[in-house]
């Protein structure tokens, strides 16, 4: 049986999808813009979507679908990432915000009949950098993306009579931002403010312009900053947080000070958003409609409509009915910072690859999962190298979030007879030199 094709947009013609500095974009106008952009795309199998505003990212994905091209997206559209992509996907075209804005300048308000794409049509490859420095891609077909947006719309009870006004502090190329600020408005009752907000002052100013149904899509880090900043004159109706566990105390504070519900999404770049909870009320995560989780020899496997069954990196306990799960903690080598995952062993390898480094380890502080501004520490043996030179070399190999603070140079790393560096010894070494 072949699945029915799925429309590019499943919203009323006049529904607002994006609220941009150039004006509000209705479903019909978005289609006209997508067609105008598609006509300008160069012939290529793959399109690197290096746009930074959500509206442009969405148009790039839509135009690529219209041309039968696959979009390549990365949470980190830095020149280094783009250069690596060019090597891995020879011949890929690159699309920027400026390209999109130039292409849609003359687009009208109506784009004709709504296009449909087969559920199995390859839509995008989402790239995560991991710790090897080489981006790793997850393929997503059109059906998987549409089904997930609809599931989110159902879970967060989004309705056309009062569409959610989405305001985000997360970048649109990261899987979480992609789902909530780029894909969601195509198939669920949400209008996304195209410009990302960052500082508490940005959030307050943007909220003042939105209606009562404002949803702040954010992370524990940004939420904490927003709460520490001046109270917004008009707080959001709802907060959605992801990328790292939200401290229940922080969630409770937001609910109290802003008078709104604070919800959390659980997901990963490979599998996308799969579950949610209200942090102050639930320890358990409730799976999205249509998403299932099963344990194969303790390894959680996620299945979802039109998606390949994929492994989840976390350890979980499943409820009896299989619809809820609880996290059992991460393996001690995996750390997550600024929404990106890395392996401590992998980071240590990168450190030891630097010429002049004889030994090196990365250490995660005890409060890494609770403190949004916690940083990794690194200890290195590198006679003849200054900490400054070493940081410079690390900066070229490691994503900014994983750069150590502090980086400590020592004569010897305390290793046991098996060559392992016990964590207690490393923490003691770090504590000994703290002010």
């Amino acid at each position: 049986m072949t699945a029915a094709p799925l429309a590019l947009i499943d919203r009323p013609d006049g529904a607002i999808l994006f609220d941009t500095p150039a004006g509000r974009v209705s479903a019909a106008a978005f289609l006209a813009q997508a067609r105008a952009l598609a006509a300008t795309l160069p012939a290529a199998a793959n399109l690197v979507n290096a746009c930074r505003d959500a509206h442009a990212v969405a148009l790039g994905i839509a135009a690529a679908l219209l041309r039968g091209q696959v979009s390549l997206l990365s949470g980190d559209p830095s020149p280094a990432t783009l250069a690596r992509l060019a090597e891995d996907y020879p011949g890929a075209a690159v699309l920027t915000d400026a390209d999109v804005h130039a292409a849609i300048a003359g687009a009208g308000q109506a784009g004709g009949p709504m296009p449909e794409f087969a559920a199995g049509q390859p839509a995008m490859v989402v790239l995560t950098s991991g710790t090897t420095g080489r981006p790793v891609g997850t393929r997503k077909c059109w059906g998987e993306l549409v089904a997930r947006s609809r599931a989110a719309g159902e879970r967060f009870v989004l309705a056309e009579d009062a569409p959610a006004q989405v305001l985000a502090t997360v970048p649109p190329g990261h899987m979480y931002g992609l789902e909530t600020t780029v894909l969601l408005p195509l198939h669920a009752a949400a209008a996304v403010r195209g410009e990302r907000v960052f500082f508490p002052g940005d959030i307050g100013a943007a909220l003042a312009t939105l209606g009562g149904n404002a949803v702040l899509v954010t992370t524990p880090l940004h939420l904490r900053a927003a709460l520490d900043g001046a109270r917004p004159a008009r707080p959001p109706g709802r907060v959605i947080s992801a990328t790292a566990p939200l401290d229940p105390a922080l969630a409770a504070r937001a609910e109290r000070e802003w008078g709104c519900a604070v919800l959390e999404i659980f997901g990963a770049s490979e599998v996308g958003s799969i579950a949610s909870r209200r942090t102050v009320a639930d320890d358990d995560w409730a799976l999205y409609p249509g998403v299932t989780l099963a344990l194969a020899d303790d390894t959680p496997m996620v299945a979802a409509p039109h998606a390949a069954t994929r492994r989840l990196a976390d350890r979980v306990a499943l409820s009896a009915d299989g619809r809820r799960f609880r996290l059992l903690g991460r393996d001690t080598d995996t750390v997550k910072l600024a929404g990106r995952r890395a392996s401590l062993a992998g980071l240590a390898r990168l450190l030891m690859e630097i010429e002049g480094v004889r030994d090196g380890v990365f250490v995660a502080p005890d409060d890494l999962d609770r403190n949004p501004i916690a940083r990794l520490a690194a200890i290195a043996v590198a006679p003849g190298l200054s900490a400054e030179r070493l940081m410079e070399a690390l900066r070229a190999r490691v994503e900014p979030a994983f750069l150590p603070r502090p980086l400590v140079l020592v004569d010897e790393i305390p290793r046991d007879g098996l060559g392992k560096a016990p964590r207690a010894g490393l923490l003691a070494l770090l504590a000994a030199r703290a002010p």
Binding site: F199, D202, I373, A387, M391, R395, P400, L409
Partner: protein
């Protein structure tokens, strides 16, 4: 055993003004940097190279500046490139916003 701090900075002959030094102290304290505030070159980049700050630091810095000086940083400020370019740019912005 010798332990050295992070926070590489380019060195020029520029001298920090007393207010720049005050802002440097605030940054070092709030971001738990291991740099001597007096050693921060007022014209060297704060982000990436130079002092090596990132977006998490930018957020922390905005809170400290708002609490200490009542000055709000905004993403859409056309002067941002200048403001975040160096300690001098940031201190100049804070001084001007406080006065205004």
């Amino acid at each position: 055993m010798q332990a050295k701090s992070t926070g590489g900075h380019l060195t020029t002959d520029e001298q920090a003004t007393p207010f720049e030094l005050e802002v440097a102290r605030l940054i070092v304290e709030q971001l738990h940097l291991e740099t001597d505030p007096a050693a921060i070159d007022p014209v060297a980049p704060l982000f990436g190279e130079g002092l090596g700050l990132d977006s998490i630091d930018a957020l922390e810095m905005s809170l400290a500046i708002s609490k200490t000086y009542g000055v709000t940083l905004r993403s859409d400020d056309p002067r941002n490139k200048e403001i975040f370019a160096s300690l001098r740019g940031l201190a100049g912005f804070i001084a001007a916003s406080r006065a205004g």
